[in-house]
């Protein structure tokens, strides 16, 4: 199966393959693709609840009451969209999305609309039914490698891999210690994990912006491995050309939807509200 989206006004055509790969073509290859009115992928927050207690949480997530109308809200937002306007995929997050009692229903709703659901988890709520539903419904998952939750995330990774589920690891990068930690994780999980996604700290919520030791990171990675990916906030660093990456302007292809408030932002680390869906 191939899904196709075309927006000539953005010089954009994209193909989404059954293995989860998306290929984009600029209709005029001499010009760049510009911001899409209808994003290719969404990041969707379904809850603010999380027991991870990360002192650097940019969402300020904490134990909270779940919003119980998320399935209805999800349908209201996405079901009116034509196939061309629907995103290819959604990354669900939070808070801890797997803690929400209606999480699987949202995944099912997403799948029923022809959109591939993925999610990020801290690994604290992994169960056999969740693994089965993930295998049945999702394109892939990412496990956050929070140092203080190591036993949870390592168990979760083992469980996902045992089910042959597409698994990424999210690694937060800031100072030398964080880079050393990533290097160890890379050594331990290389060849078992699809992508090691490096994410810088973002000064938002409980997180204070930390300087990225870019020089040390560059020294710590040999060459430009195809299984290391960079989050959008690395964009200004990547422009030095050290890593052979496929660059495009951050936030032109995606948006962030908070299902609790139904507010849409350029990304989860942006406080610039674009609109509120009513």
């Amino acid at each position: 199966m191939i899904k196709i989206r075309i927006f000539p006004e953005s010089n954009y055509k994209a193909f989404h393959l059954s293995d989860g790969t998306t290929l984009r073509f600029a209709l005029n290859p001499n010009k760049d693709i510009t911001e899409l009115e209808y994003p290719e992928f969404y990041d969707v927050k379904i809850t603010s609840h999380c027991k991870g207690a990360c002192e650097y949480c940019y969402q300020s997530s904490a134990p909270k009451t779940h919003d119980r109308n998320i399935v209805e809200k999800f349908y209201n937002f996405f079901s009116p969209l034509s196939d061309n306007k629907k995103p290819f995929q959604i990354a669900f997050g939070g808070g801890e999305p797997t803690s929400h009692p209606d999480f699987i229903k949202v995944l099912e709703a997403c799948q029923s609309l022809g959109i591939t659901p993925n999610y990020t988890t801290n690994g604290m709520h992994i169960s056999e039914p969740l693994l089965e539903d993930t295998k049945r419904l999702c394109g892939g998952v990412a496990v956050s490698t929070h140092p203080h939750l190591e036993s949870f995330w390592k168990s979760a990774v083992d469980a996902f891999l045992a089910k042959n589920i597409f698994t990424n690891l999210h690694c937060i990068i800031s100072d030398k210690a964080s880079i050393d930690s990533f290097s160890q994780i890379y050594k331990d999980y290389h060849n078992r994990i699809k992508y090691f996604v490096l994410l810088p700290l973002s000064a938002q919520g409980r997180c204070k912006e930390a300087q990225i030791d870019w020089d040390y990171l560059k020294q710590s990675i040999t060459g430009s491995p195809p299984d290391i990916a960079f989050g959008a906030n690395f964009y200004p660093y990547l422009k030095d050309g050290r890593f052979n990456v496929s660059m495009y302007e951050p936030e032109i292809l995606s948006k962030y939807l908070d299902l609790e408030t139904m507010k849409v932002y350029p990304s989860s680390f942006s406080t610039k509200e674009l609109y509120q869906y009513v």
């Binding site: 199966m1 191939i2 899904k3 196709i4 075309i6 000539p8 055509k13 059954s18 293995d19 989860g20 790969t21 290929l23 984009r24 073509f25 600029a26 209709l27 290859p29 010009k31 760049d32 693709i33 990041d43 034509s82 061309n84 990354a91 997050g93 022809g114 993925n118 990020t120 892939g140 990412a142 990424n168 999210h170 699809k194 992508y195 996604v197 994410l199 990675i221 060459g223 430009s224 195809p226 990916a229 960079f230 989050g231 959008a232 906030n233 990547l238 422009k239 030095d240 050309g241 050290r242 052979n244 990456v245 496929s246 660059m247 495009y248 951050p250 032109i252 995606s254 990304s267 680390f269």
Partner: protein
């Protein structure tokens, strides 16, 4: 023979960040997978490898970087003195070696090279160019159809199974 430019590719997106994947992952294999699925949709019992030779052709961004480095050396810009031959001409072998070493992570880019790369990166439309040739002349029409399909804006919106 045809040239296709893949703007970018991504795998599954699992986080809020518009993840940027490495170029080596955004070239031939995903393109072949796309062609294979297209052939399957057309009911053609062939694979991309049966019909086409696909290879990456010179990266335009890298080519621009090389040219700009050469110009900097030629103009004896500060910091580039070591890349000159005794006769004052740019040493092309040394320039290539320097870029290879920087790109492979063996050494850090000198400040002037970082500036060049940054300049090229911010002015580039990006993409990876692929050269596609048919293995047999009988596939020429099929190749043309596939390429037209890639860039067509008509009657192919939405989902195709």
């Amino acid at each position: 023979m045809a040239k296709i430019t893949v703007h970018s590719t991504t795998s599954l997106i699992t986080n809020s960040s518009t993840t940027i994947y490495t170029k080596s992952d955004c070239s031939i294999e995903p393109f072949k997978a796309l062609i294979n699925e297209m052939l399957s949709l057309m009911g053609i019992d062939k694979t991309c490898d049966d019909i086409f030779d696909v290879k990456i052709v010179g990266d335009e961004g890298e080519s621009k970087v090389w040219d700009m480095v050469f110009d900097n050396v030629y103009n004896e810009s500060e910091g580039t003195e070591d890349l000159l031959l005794p006769d004052g001409e740019p040493d092309e072998e040394k320039i290539t070696q320097l870029l290879d070493d920087v790109n492979s992570g063996k050494i850090d880019a000198p400040y002037w090279l970082e500036e060049i790369k940054s300049c090229v990166s911010s002015n580039s439309a990006g993409g990876t160019s692929l050269e596609i040739t048919t293995k047999d002349p009988k596939y020429e029409n099929l190749a043309q159809l596939a390429i037209e399909f890639l860039y067509s804006t008509e009657a192919v919106e939405g989902e195709h199974t």
